[in-house]
């Protein structure tokens, strides 16, 4: 096990390097740059800007300087668009916000999703099943960019219960709508995967054996079915968790949370090279880490799996 962890961590280094180089090149290949504006800059002003931000160097040099600054100083550079701030500052503000609402949304998506999926599978083709499937399909087809404005319309304008947007760590009322908007569709996917996986397991031989022994249903589900049924769910949860905690552009946009999701999209549109790279690397590292966590969970759940 330790071997696996060490091996994967060693592999992570070249993976991140490849990620950096590829994103760097792709980004610079996109037409326009951070200083492309409605009014074209004179060559002199552009040259001054490029000199200030090191864009006048050949690209391989830019990559080397970039990597060196990260490795030795943990410095992701200044933002090219938000000129008063560094990428570190942008991430330090944005990531904790998305991490907060993302983790909470993840918690609800998993608990509700798994419960719904299991219930639907156990009571397959019953009213309960139809109800659960109905909810999940409804939740999945309702995109969050439709749901977000509806939520604000209902809870802010009509009922006046919740603030229409903004962020305050000390006030949970700001969290409610972002969490609902983010969790719903993931909850639906989790429920569907759980249901179909659970159905498969419930028809497996060892469950039939358990049933024939006369074990009570709750015992069969909790002791024998749930663990193997969770395998496909867990492989879905790894990347999903990363997606959720690194923010959703829709949530950030509609609820003005100040989270990282919107920064990422804006950075891409504004060609804010440094912010885009910073977030890409962060997402890359988180993805590698949680894929490792998923693999470890696999080994723990299914002793047959050996790495």
């Amino acid at each position: 096990m330790l071997n696996l962890i060490l091996k994967r961590l060693a592999l992570a280094v070249p993976t991140i390097l490849i990620l950096i180089v590829c994103s760097f090149l792709l980004m610079h290949a996109a037409p326009g740059g951070p200083f492309t504006a409605e009014r074209a800059l004179t060559p002199e002003i552009l040259a001054n800007l490029e000199a200030k931000y090191g864009l006048d160097q050949p690209i391989y040099k830019q990559i080397l300087i970039y990597i060196r600054n990260i490795v030795f100083d943990f410095d992701f550079g200044p933002s090219f668009i938000y000129k008063d701030r560094t990428v570190n500052e942008v991430l330090a503000q944005g990531f904790p916000i998305t991490l907060t609402y993302g983790s909470i949304a993840f918690f609800f998506a998993v608990t509700i999703g798994v419960s719904l999926g299991v219930t639907a599978a156990i009571y397959q083709n019953s009213l309960l099943d139809y109800f659960a499937v109905g909810i999940t399909i409804g939740a999945q087809v309702l995109p969050n960019f439709v749901m977000a404005p509806i939520l604000v319309l209902v809870f802010t304008l009509l009922l006046g219960w919740l603030p229409g947007g903004g962020w305050d760590y000390s006030d949970p009322s700001y969290l409610i709508m972002p969490v609902i908007a983010l969790a719903t569709s993931f909850m639906a996917s989790i429920a569907r995967i759980t249901r179909s996986s659970m159905l498969e397991v419930m028809n497996a031989n060892h469950i039939r054996t358990a049933r024939s022994k006369g074990l009570p249903t709750y015992h069969i589900v909790l002791r024998h079915a749930l663990k193997p049924a969770m395998l496909p769910v867990i492989s879905y949860l790894g990347p999903t968790f990363v997606t959720m905690i690194t923010g959703s552009v829709v949530v950030d946009m509609f609820f003005s949370t100040g989270g990282m999701g919107l920064f990422f999209v804006n950075a891409a549109l504004n060609r804010d090279y440094s912010v885009m790279m910073g977030i890409t690397i962060l997402v890359g590292i988180l993805t590698i880490f949680f894929n490792l966590v998923v693999d470890l969970l696999y080994a723990w759940i299914d002793p047959k799996i050996r790495f």
Binding site: G32, A40, I45, N48, K83, V152, G165, G166
Partner: protein, 537 residues
């Protein structure tokens, strides 16, 4: 030296708006207990640094945090700011500003040296300001040379005669020079603070300003809060205690939050003005806004052969039914446009443009005749590509125009949509046939538009070049009243048609009924929080 002190101290005292006779009432209206003004920002503020900021919303915040030499009043007229007034030399090349006794938010005095520092900083290659061109546009002596690195920043034509006297030397006389000092790029900054904290000097814990407010809280992507600066020279007459700008990206979401009472001012989403003005009379306001929307025709080297023929360009422009665009698509009271400069620009007299007076039928007939004359018709249809950047409104207008051109002229128009940066890059490289564009004025004077079409303008992407036009614009710079030349210039544009004017902007906004003092008549839509106040419901 002929000195004319345009604005005396007495006059400036009168102009202080509003005059508070009784601390609790203004014009017979009772002031609300809580003087907090909240408005919506489309995007996060990119910088609070006057010399670094490039966008309009950023300028709005900076105008509260800092104060330049001159300000604008509610109608866009020039009023004293940190300067009590100014005098101009006989040759109009030297401006001398007399500064009032104003203080920075840390208690230090605002001096002419602070302006000298800020103005040099704007053009200093080390600052690498994207707005360095503004000082070149102002014609300050040596600005261009400093930007190019040919001379040191201390060679810029500015100097502090003494602590309270700031002198500017220009390379060429610019009649509207003083009005250019209301732009936030020219605002003073305090050297000691900038040098101590570097790029982070604008953080709420570091920033020192000379405006009516100080930056008290900034949460990127969420909100910008500024609170009263007790050291501001006119703090006594400032009513709003706190201004909150909320970043709400989606305009419909912003409207919902306005209706829920969370914001006092927001923009009206396109197409919703008629409905909102019926449902909320008095709250939905549409007023002129200094921007002009056009379609460039590429007449340059990389442009298509067809567009080099003025008859083709005229035909295309005539065939656009602007009434449909303003009244059916935009519906926010926008102006149909047959010229370039916004028709409400101060002092600008819109000349008589021939096709503006025709009916659409007449324009269409003329367009058909011109295009046929140029050799295009059913057997030889004109083929063009129209570039626009991603936006619902641009798309609707592009579809509208493609229909007008198709139906009236049989033009085979390909619509090409791209993301904004790509659109702009192509446009500036001259790689387009017809391309969407909008220009917003930097100052309230027609040359902010008309200079663009000179052959030497860096923003003239069409490849249009007419010596007669260049001459008229060059001459306008030295005229006491340049407006007759602007009228001539517009007539040349209507004759040569290097672009098709489409419409001129209005700012359609919602204002809470308790908010007073919003400068609805200011064409630049420049507001200062200190001019606003909230009355009781």
């Amino acid at each position: 030296m002929r000195t004319k002190l345009l604005l005396s101290a007495a006059l400036s005292a009168m102009l202080v708006f509003p005059i508070v006779s009784n601390a609790k009432t203004i014009n017979g209206e009772k002031l609300a207990e809580e003087q907090v003004f909240t408005y919506r920002l489309l995007d996060d503020i990119k910088s609070f640094d006057p010399q670094i900021n490039t966008d309009i919303e950023g300028s709005g915040v900076i105008r509260d945090l800092f104060e330049g030499l001159m300000n604008e009043d509610a109608k866009g007229g020039l009023v004293p700011g940190t300067a009590k007034g100014y005098s101009v030399s006989e040759d109009k090349l030297t401006y001398t500003f007399n500064l009032r006794d104003a203080k920075w938010s840390n208690g230090e005095s605002v001096t002419a040296h602070d302006f000298v520092y800020a103005w040099r900083r704007l053009v200093d290659p080390k600052t690498a300001s994207e707005y360095a061109w503004y000082m070149e546009l102002m014609g300050v002596k040596n600005a261009t040379k400093v930007v190019k690195g040919e001379v040191a920043p201390d060679q810029l034509g500015v100097r502090a005669v003494d602590d309270k006297t700031f002198e500017v030397t220009l390379e060429k006389a610019i009649p509207y020079f003083a009005s250019m000092t209301v732009h936030s790029s020219t605002f003073p900054v305090l050297k000691s603070v900038v040098e101590k904290h570097g790029a982070g000097w604008t953080k709420p814990e570091n920033i020192v300003g000379n405006g009516a407010y100080i930056l008290s809280e900034y949460r990127s992507g969420e909100k910008v809060v500024r609170e009263r600066n007790v050291n501001y020279w006119n703090n006594e007459n400032t009513i709003i205690d706190k201004t909150v700008a909320l970043v709400i990206n989606d305009e419909n979401q912003a409207l919902t939050r306005y209706l829920a009472g969370e914001v006092d001012k927001t923009n009206i989403p396109s197409g919703q003005y008629p409905r909102l003005s019926k449902e909320y009379p008095g709250q939905a306001v549409s007023n002129p806004y200094s921007c002009s929307y056009i379609y460039w025709f590429n007449v340059g080297e990389k442009g298509p052969e067809s567009l080099k023929d003025v008859r083709v360009r005229k035909a295309l422009s005539y065939a656009i039914n602007r009434e449909v665009i303003t009244d059916r698509i935009l519906q926010g009271g926008q102006y149909q446009s047959y010229n370039f400069a916004h028709q409400k620009t101060a002092g600008f007299e819109l000349p008589e443009i021939d096709y503006a007076g025709w009916t659409q039928k007449e324009r269409d007939d003329k367009a058909k005749a011109l295009l046929a004359e140029a050799g295009y018709g059913p057997d030889n249809p004109l083929k063009l590509t129209l570039n626009y950047n991603t936006s619902e409104t641009h798309k609707k207008i592009a579809i509208g125009v493609s229909q007008f051109w198709k139906k009236t002229l049989g033009v085979d128009l390909t619509l090409s949509n791209s993301e904004w940066k790509i659109h702009t890059t192509k446009q500036q490289a001259g790689e387009f046939e017809v391309s969407r564009y909008a220009w917003c004025g930097d100052y309230n004077e027609a040359s902010t538009y008309l200079d663009l079409l000179t052959s030497y303008s860096g923003h003239n992407v069409s490849g249009y070049s007419n010596p007669e036009y260049d001459e008229i614009m060059a001459e306008s710079k030295t005229m006491e009243n340049p407006n007759p030349n602007y009228a001539k210039a517009e007539k040349i544009l209507a004759r040569d048609m290097p672009f098709a004017p489409i419409y001129q902007y209005t700012g359609a906004i919602m204002l809470q009924p308790t908010l007073r003092g919003w400068p609805v008549d200011n064409l630049m839509q420049r507001f200062y929080s200190r001019d606003l106040y909230i009355v009781e419901k």
